[in-house]
Symmetry: C2
Subunit: 643 residues, 2 copies
């Protein structure tokens, strides 16, 4: 056995001689970003060897001076003696620490109110699928000695019209105690189906009808966001978000799926999402709001199809292999206790149904909350999360497709990328003469990295100021200390000097990063273009564009068009609608009518498989340019560039 100490947290772990350093870190629960999942291809798992020796090889991801300082790739190193390793990336540790923060902004609140209005405008009621009723039951005596459960059933039949009443074992065990604690005056929490059947999931002594709480949860590949809802008043009591702890097993769904096929991989991924991500968020929100976890008895969550499979511990590999078959789109009935979620164990979990292997419940939920299903106008809905999903339609039809955009919009696979959380650069302007940037950082003076909206700004500004050309290559003729090239000739632009902010390392964007991002934006643009073309239309048909996803509140539409992420149409047609998946979960939680609408949307959406369109590949290649190979598609951008 040899010993590894991970700095700066001083986490110590013993392992076998020859163990892979990345695997050892995972075992020790030390987060090291490894989007390529240990293939020595992405170079993100760079760590610094402080003490001792490892069996490793230099790769092109390690610069000469880094090599001299002790930098190695964890995935490429075997532990052969006691070592001390420094995990240097602040980005990584920010993921690891799972910062949980309040999401409320003025824009969030507006979106929230607008979504609520949508429900009411469509004559749907705010009545949840979970109900509470206070009942005063006849007290038993020798002449009326039916069983406790039969007594409850009799009362519910005579007073609320339910002729079939069910409960489960754990609930049954509570009945004799609670009935007598409340002197047969109790509040039942139940889930009706139709007008005549219901299932009791909780019972409390006395009248507690004003205390009914639920969770809305959006499970993104990169970020997870949740809110704790007062179902009685409709208010949000707490909000929280964090990185998805599965990231340590791969940045995108494909790498996660591959990890799930390894020994214990599925269990580890399931553990990461439940015990390392969701339960800490639940705990935080319970603490913030002062609500006991057992009082939370409603739960709606949405995620892409892979996330839903991993949440339930269902083997996902057939999603990845042709012909790309999910095990389920609609999850069966599941109790919170079956997933060990930290809420009332009897809670019925509602998992928003997916549409296809690569169009998940998060899109269904987003379609619900964005109201496309009730729109007279033609709406293009773009979810810029990890991967990009697109919906186009109106109240008469809904078409959807998925593009392999990867995690770039949430800062993934970008060396300086991070999700839109505290410390993220969300806006960038570059002085056209000095090439000096002005940064806007979320909730901090010290930048830790750049989120999606910041990267869009940055690339757009670099293009306009001439730092990069339309291929994304850095102009070697610019004389600025912000621009430098490594020994392989790969250029980078320094967004933040470490000296200026007292940070550990310069924050830079490299040509490799820009190339990744161009491919991501190209995938989205070409996806939207193919979807609309497949209907025999073009972008001029669009009345509205809704942008959703974890790209960040500061998304700049103009700059997104400049780089060719979004089509060059009237700017007033665009709106950023935030985390529409979370909002859809909230509506589903609050309104059974909304839930029916959600299910209708899931069933009625037509999935378009882009890969069967021969034109899609051509579109994609053309879109991998700033803003596009065919500049005529972007007339306003053309004008700006010509200026």
């Amino acid at each position: 056995m040899v010993k590894v100490i991970f700095k700066p947290e001083n986490i110590e772990i013993s392992c076998e001689y020859g163990d892979n350093l990345l695997e050892v870190a995972r075992k020790a629960n030390v987060f090291i970003d490894a989007p390529c999942n240990g293939n020595v291809s992405c170079g993100k798992c760079k760590v610094k060897l402080i003490k001792g020796k490892v069996d490793t090889k230099k790769s092109h991801h390690i610069k000469d001076e880094e090599w001299d300082e002790g930098y190695i790739l964890a995935c490429n190193s075997k532990v052969i003696e006691d070592v001390e390793i420094e995990v240097p990336s602040k980005l990584s540790s920010s993921m690891n620490k799972m910062k949980i923060e309040d999401l409320s902004t003025e824009r969030d609140k507006q979106i929230f109110e607008k979504s609520k209005k949508l429900i009411l405008d469509n004559n749907m009621k705010f009545k949840s699928y979970v109900r509470k009723d206070y009942i005063e039951i006849d007290i038993p005596n020798l002449d009326d000695n039916i069983s406790d459960f039969d007594r409850i059933k009799r009362h519910l039949k005579n007073n609320l019209g339910y002729t079939k009443v069910f409960c489960r074992l754990q609930m049954l065990r509570k009945i004799p105690h609670i009935l007598r604690k409340g002197s047969f005056k109790v509040t039942i929490t139940h889930i009706p189906r139709g007008s005549d059947r219901t299932t009791i999931v909780n019972m409390e002594a006395g009248d507690t009808t004003d205390r009914l709480y639920g969770i809305a949860l959006d499970i993104g590949t990169t970020s997870v966001a949740a809110c704790l809802v007062d179902l009685y008043k409709g208010e949000l009591l707490a909000k929280a978000s964090s990185g998805n702890a599965q990231i340590k097993y791969g940045a995108d769904v494909i790498n996660r799926i591959i990890y799930a096929t390894k020994k214990d991989g599925l269990e580890k991924l399931n553990h990461a999402i439940i015990h390392e991500t969701i339960n800490p968020l639940l705990k935080k929100m319970c603490k913030d709001s002062g609500i006991d976890k057992d009082e939370i008895i409603a739960f709606v969550c949405a995620g892409n199809t892979t996330m839903s499979h991993l949440l339930l511990g269902v083997y996902p590999d057939y999603l990845r292999l042709e012909p790309y078959i999910p095990t389920f789109l609609r999850a069966p009935f599941i109790k919170a206790s079956e997933l060990e979620l930290n809420i009332n164990p009897e809670t019925f979990l509602y998992i928003v149904p997916s549409v296809a292997s690569y169009v998940g419940g998060d899109i269904t939920a987003g379609v619900l909350s964005s109201g496309i299903w009730s729109s007279e106008e033609n709406v293009l809905f773009i979810d810029l999360g990890t991967n990009g999903e697109i919906v186009f339609g109106n109240k008469d039809y809904l078409m959807t497709c998925a593009c392999s955009a990867g995690p770039a919009f949430e800062g993934g696979e970008i060396s300086c990328g991070m999700r839109a959380a505290s410390g993220a650069v969300e806006k960038v302007e570059i002085n056209r003469d000095t090439f000096e940037p002005i940064l806007k950082i979320i909730g901090s003076n010290q930048p830790e990295g750049i989120c999606g909206s910041g990267i869009i700004d940055l690339i757009s500004e670099m293009m306009i100021s001439g730092i990069i050309d339309r291929r994304g290559k850095i102009n070697k003729n610019i004389n600025s200390n912000r621009i430098r090239f490594d020994e392989h000739g790969i250029g980078e632009y320094i967004v933040a000097f470490k000296e200026d902010y007292e940070i550990e390392k310069d924050i830079t964007i490299t040509e490799v990063d820009i190339d990744s991002f161009i491919r991501a934006k190209g995938a989205v643009y070409s996806g939207a273009a193919t979807l609309i073309t497949s209907l025999g239309m073009d972008f001029s048909i669009i009345d509205k564009v809704y942008i959703a996803g974890g790209i960040g509140n500061s998304l700049d539409i103009e700059k997104s068009i400049l780089i060719g992420l979004l089509p060059d149409i009237d700017r007033s047609k665009f709106s950023y609608i935030g985390n529409s998946s979370l909002m859809g979960c909230y509506l589903t939680l609050m309104s059974e009518d909304a839930r029916y609408k959600l299910e209708e949307c899931a069933s009625s959406m037509t999935y378009v498989e882009l890969s069967v369109y021969p034109s899609y590949m051509d579109e994609f290649v053309s879109a991998c340019f700033l803003p596009h190979t065919n500049i005529e598609n972007f007339p306003t951008v053309k004008n700006i560039l010509e200026d």
Copy 2:
């Protein structure tokens, strides 16, 4: 800490200074019979102190010579130093060892065939509530890429007409693997409700429709019996029975309920029935039959209302306290995994519904298998288990009541009593001149104790031969080494001298035992009399008497009438129908039609509360005599006694 060693098994356990010896034995899982549950009232927890000292007191249960030999009551002793304790009773250890034996006799087989005929004669089908279907599903491709679960649903809708198909999480997790293992040719195990809905509980690759297995289980207060059934062929593959391991916490339901109210009491009782009783029986039957536990996917069990509560871990104390309210009569839906039963975890458990607090599912099941519900004639059904339950009726009506007979018919609370298992004296004849007995022992040459049928024989023979008078007191004028009196003047008859059989101790029946048994038989007789009187009838109305329960196959009807357990009517009207509860479970398992009939019986039975009949107490007191205070009720017995 002090140390206790229990002989002869040499079980060693550490405990605190001053701990109660009975509790220490329970912790060590050493069985010491304690029907009174530690009140120093029954004297059954007699053990022998071999080494060391305890803090104890002599009680009237300990004879002088026993005291000198080191006998103490465990419930009355505190451990104050390291001791060695001998647990002497072979009876107790026979309970502890949980002998599991085959129950098949010729009579069993006849009863089995008769019950099957009953179902067919009433136009009911042998089609279980659990079904298997082999299906060949379309293989997915890029043009037909719906999810695995949707694919199964589509197939079942198109081919078997089920429009609503459900499954649960554990089942869902199996789907992708099994579908592909079987190349989309699989066998589903499912539980239909009506013609359009079904729930899939298992899936196997290939065609396994001929392998469908279930368990029928009777949970008695004293004995537990089970059979493993081939649902495809209807055959019994294995049978097993054992004592109920809860006995260490009390012999009857009242003492068990009291124990359940103590700290961790309910958990211990639940553990005893599931992990110490049922699971060993299941394991034994799987081994005997070569069936894998995961192939057992149907389960029907019956027990009295208290046993049902304890099986499910539901607090039973309100059954005991006025107004005697059960938490449930019909159990909710429960999966095998929720009770940790050693069968397929997805099995739906069917627990036969109870009728009232003291008329349980075992009686409902007995009514089903005995066929009273289809009888033109008036049937009196008597279950002689722990307590006695009585049903009277025919196809038009069913009346039922419970009598507090205690566990005497299964050998409980009788010093030499044991259940009808190997080593039990099941038949006794006593020579009228020599007072020497002739014993018939179940499956052995060495007697270990006497079962219910043996005690009936013994008391009847003692009465006829003049050893006891009609009050059950031993004649002091008989000169026989079989009869002796202790220092308190309490007489006993020696059934088996230890020297004759090379056993540890004489097997004797005392006046105290006889008194207990007379009260038990008095409770049953007076219960039956009151039930029939309450309908304005008398015993002459009876066309048939069915005797069920664990009293033993060798029940002698003539002798039962002689002692006044059964009414003095035409002997040809009587039949012993064995474990009618287990048989009812078998029918319920095999036939969904029979299950509907069972539920109809449970709902339609009218419960008569004996305690509200003022005449019942008088009837009981009169019946506590051999055969009865009013000998005119027993004309044939009167003639015999006068001879």
